[in-house]
């Protein structure tokens, strides 16, 4: 496909990798965090770590929307479907996220809850129009990329007076999560990793633009390079980060200029700020409560806010004790450091959220990288006599 295949050229990828190897200073280490789950997936899928010098390590950040969704929020959705009898619509990858009492949305569905997978928020609103006698709730998750479509359906429902539709809003914000990783008080509990720079998200940045990272690059003296999701984009982004680190710069650079501007998508931003406002605090799986890191529905749209409509109260639930998702989401541990990785916890039967979505660090490592750590030994040549 045009504008896709050109950015997956293997020979060129090796050339960019060669330049990284030349420019990376062997006397120091480079730790770069890719914040976004789309990058985590691309890095695992295309084997990018194998192309990098040994002193350059990529740390998977908390940018997989499913992975950062805390158990308590999924419990709310399950309660709505099981106890209130609503039709709960959700994106497919939330279906298997483990919740309380060994439930998930999928298991709740097996118990008779009416839970439907939708491709888009607009499908959920359409379902509400078709079934005016039922309450339809859209379980809205994700970063700045999925927020504008949710804003659009809320605006649309309000404009056209759809009375049986509401949204359980769990939208979260990228810049505040990055900041939190760098300065959170829990760093003492989880330890910390030195981060020399960030690979900035691709699709999120299409919406918010590159400007929101500028304050952050200056304030924390960390370079940010926004990169596309294709393997050449990721490698080029890494090359640009290496150069910034070597030159002592901490700037926001944009590798993904074909889609990301400084100001972002203004139509989407205007719509989002019309419908949503900041939440004073929101719990993230792995990061805990993060101030001003999420959105809630504005009072003008209160009747479409499932939390108000059904009087939902949030209760925090701790993760499974054996699960290392918290440390992995902060980049302190790698998937293979977790005792239950690949044994008890697999993509078929995830215990922790990082194993659920294909964008999760554990699922990506399980699918594409779990045999990487096993050294390849050549079989002994056997002479065959006739």
């Amino acid at each position: 496909m045009k504008y896709i295949d050109e950015f997956r050229d293997g020979a060129l990828a090796r050339q960019i990798a060669a330049r990284i190897a030349v420019e990376a200073d062997p006397s120091r280490a480079y730790h770069f965090m890719e914040f976004c789950g789309g990058h985590t997936h691309a890095i695992a899928r295309y084997g990018i770590p194998d192309l990098l010098p040994p002193n350059l390590r990529l740390i998977h950040g908390p940018g997989c929307p499913v992975c950062v969704l805390p158990i308590g929020r999924i419990d709310l959705a399950i309660r709505l479907a099981l106890e209130q009898g609503v039709i709960l619509c959700t994106y497919g990858d939330t279906m298997r996220v483990p919740a309380s009492q060994q439930l998930s949305l999928l298991k709740a569905k097996a118990r008779g809850a009416d839970i439907r997978m939708v491709y888009s928020a607009a499908d959920a609103l359409e379902l509400a129009r078709q079934q005016p006698e039922r309450e339809v709730v859209f379980f809205a998750i994700g970063f700045e990329t999925t927020t504008p479509p949710t804003a659009l359906v809320l605006h649309d429902a309000s404009r056209t007076g759809v009375r049986n539709f509401s949204v359980l809003c769990c939208h979260v914000l990228t810049p505040s999560a990055i900041t939190h990783i760098l300065e959170s008080p829990e760093v003492r509990q989880f330890g910390t990793v030195p981060i020399d720079g960030f690979i900035g998200p691709a699709h999120v940045s299409i919406v918010i633009g590159s400007a929101p990272y500028e304050h952050f690059a200056q304030e924390y003296r960390k370079p940010v390079v926004i990169a596309g999701f294709e393997p050449l984009d990721v490698l080029q982004g890494i090359a640009m980060l290496v150069r910034q680190v070597n030159e002592g710069r901490a700037e926001v650079e944009n590798e993904f200029t074909r889609a990301v501007s400084r100001e972002g998508n203004l139509t989407a931003q205007a719509l989002v700020s019309k419908v949503f406002e900041l939440r004073p605090s929101f719990e993230w799986r792995g990061l805990g409560e993060v101030p001003y890191s999420a959105l809630k529905i504005r009072p003008a749209y209160a009747e479409f806010d499932a939390e108000r409509r059904f009087g939902l109260g949030y209760r925090s639930v701790p993760d499974n004790k054996a699960c290392e998702c918290g440390a992995i989401l902060r980049g302190v541990k790698q998937p293979s450091d977790c005792k239950i990785f690949g044994t008890v916890c697999t993509p078929e039967n995830p215990i922790g959220s990082c194993m659920v979505s294909s964008e999760g660090a554990c699922a990506a490592h399980y699918t594409y990288g779990r045999f990487r750590s096993i050294p390849i030994v050549a079989a002994e040549a056997v002479e065959l006599s006739a």
Partner: protein, 82 residues
């Protein structure tokens, strides 16, 4: 690629031969022939062909200067491509 505008905020896109209708409400400026980036059924941005060419040109320049790769291989820091 956007092949047809169906209504005010819907459009038909062609994804390597597969056609799908998506919402254009977030990119009202999109016209037929534009490349759009689609996320959960909504076009969230347009692709700038000039900038794409510019990025590809940077890669192409790299291809011409293969000295770098040879140097890295010589220093034993990179396994040559098979």
């Amino acid at each position: 690629m956007l092949v047809e505008r169906l209504s005010d905020d819907q459009g038909l896109i062609d994804l390597g031969g597969i056609r799908k209708s998506v919402s254009l409400a977030l990119v009202p400026e999109a016209v037929v022939g534009d490349y759009v980036i689609v996320h959960v059924g909504h076009a969230i941005g347009l692709l700038d062909p000039e900038e794409a060419q510019h990025t590809l040109a940077i890669f192409a320049e790299l291809e011409r200067s293969t000295d770098n790769a040879d140097a890295a291989v010589a220093r034993g820091r990179l396994v040559p491509a098979p």
